[in-house]
Symmetry: C2
Subunit: 325 residues, 2 copies
């Protein structure tokens, strides 16, 4: 083991669709990466096995054994106990309604220390340390994708509450409003999440509304409306897509402004599949939609787009293993 | 000056209706107190003069010169710069839309150091250090009165953001909903604040709805619906009062749960005129109204009533002057 390899760390972004594994050096430069589809059947043990495979493959490309890594960080959905590495109620993952000892299982499989954090929080940490959040001491990360997740940095430190903080997608913005994918009513995510927008689009199509969204999906051989399909439909001027995205921006404006009214952070960082795909124009649109709801409207936070793109989650996860052995 | 008097501190709760000044010893026991109506005309200078008067009177009862106090803390509305003691945009106070150097003005008038903090935040600090928040490391203070204010303790420390955090009353709970006293739409305070509830009651009366609320107000020689008038009307089974309070509780449920979804604090402390007046039964009612909106509904925070009552704000303000000279 050389001095160079001993500083290398692993990072895994465990998503509902894919597992992204990377190996980085001490400066967070990516040395190797690998990707696996997230198992859709089985249980937490199968997900852990897929993570070990992906991490080993990333190590292979980086030319290092997983056991030589300084450590591996995992960004996981669900409620994370960062002390024990246990993950509870990761509802987008198969058979994971209870608690699973993800950290120790992976530590056995990889032969190195494993640190587990919340997926959205580690992506926020990455933006704070290495990306769009570097100029600030307090930021709210808003990850606009299938759902709407939030991560917090307050006074340069992550805030995770009792392990479940940052659920900005489930702030109520329309009491007794639309049904959310979580089963509750009127959540911001029920208007702004990609899964909810797709459900709304399908309902409109069932009512006879015209849209290119689902033709684009079929053309591309996909079974869901990806961020790129939404972007393409907007470029074509598709009326239903435009209306639903406008409604999503309005919902984000109300919800994110509400969070800012409570926290008064310096900056809001917009990431996630839709956020990264839509870019600066949408940071401006979301800032404009927040303005009427900001209590201190004379002093709005900066609203910026995430700088690390798709790998931000894995890079942030690798930060968990920094300086710990 | 004896050792005893040198440990004494002053605390002022600067409210829209009244100025409450106290002198406390090192254990926060109240040695003297005084109260003045808050000037409704003039400007910040007149408010500062009234604070000096009230503080001097409290000192008189405590048998101490204001210049012998270890320091005086002020809990102020508006955006507070705690470093300089400047207060900006205290919109419930006369002629105070701009910035006023409250700290230095009072330091001159009282002959001791003056520390300025946000009114709701210092009341939350008081509950955290001396009241209902003592068992916890993270709390959200919810002050349910004329408006709905919020204060935050995260990891045992106050969180004030850029000086304007804690505006939970202006979280959007019904996008495009009822007009709030702040001019915006759909804020929690538009449904739950006492001022907004009174406006809603008047509208219903104008439409021919029956209620005892305004008779009770006249009987007591008041010109607004106080917490005690609302409590009395509820005891009598007044239908309009019951309906409006039910709606307020529902609004608090949605808004406070949204804040908890973001912050995942251990406890919510309900204070303010209505909160303190209504007591434990309403802590339970608010907890029940939060439950359907909590994302981690398996792990709700404790919901408790503020323990320090009306003096909590002034006691918390006095904490600002603790250990600083």
């Amino acid at each position: 083991m050389t001095a160079t390899t001993s500083a290398a760390r692993g990072g895994v972004d465990l998503g509902g669709t894919k597992i992204e594994a990377i190996v980085v050096d001490s400066r967070s430069t990516v040395l190797g990466s690998a990707r696996r589809p997230t198992p859709t059947t089985g249980g937490p043990g199968d997900v852990a096995a897929a993570i070990v495979e992906a991490m080993r493959e990333a190590c292979h490309f980086a030319g290092i054994e997983s056991s030589s890594l300084r450590g591996v960080g995992i960004g996981s959905p669900g409620v994370v106990d960062s002390t024990t590495g246990a993950v509870t109620g990761a509802r987008n993952l198969p058979g994971w309604s209870g608690t699973f000892e993800l950290g120790s299982t992976l530590a056995n499989g990889l032969g190195t220390k494993v640190f587990v954090g919340n997926d959205v929080q580690v992506a926020t940490d990455a933006e704070f340390h290495l990306g769009a959040g570097r100029p600030y001491k307090s930021v709210l990360g808003v990850f606009w994708g299938t759902g709407v997740g939030g991560g917090l940095i307050l006074d340069r430190k992550p805030w995770v509450g009792r392990g479940g903080a940052g659920e900005i997608g489930h702030m109520v913005i329309v009491k007794d409003g639309a049904r959310c994918t979580c089963g509750r009513r009127g959540c911001m995510e029920a208007y702004a999440g990609r899964a909810a927008m797709e459900a709304r689009a399908r309902k409109q199509v069932d009512k006879g509304r015209k849209t290119d969204l689902f033709h684009l999906m079929e053309e591309r051989g996909r079974n869901r409306l990806t961020s790129s399909i939404w972007a393409h439909a907007l470029e074509r001027g598709d009326k239903l897509a435009t209306q639903l995205i406008d409604e999503a921006v309005e919902a984000l404006g109300a919800g994110v402004a509400s969070a800012v009214n409570v926290l008064d952070v310096e900056a809001v960082i917009i990431g996630g599949g839709l956020g990264v795909r839509f870019g600066e124009l949408y940071a401006t649109r979301i800032a404009r939609a927040m303005q009427p709801h900001l209590f201190h409207d004379e002093n709005p936070p900066d609203v910026v787009i995430a700088a690390l793109g798709d790998l931000g989650g894995a890079i942030g996860a690798a930060l968990l293993a920094r300086g710990k052995r």
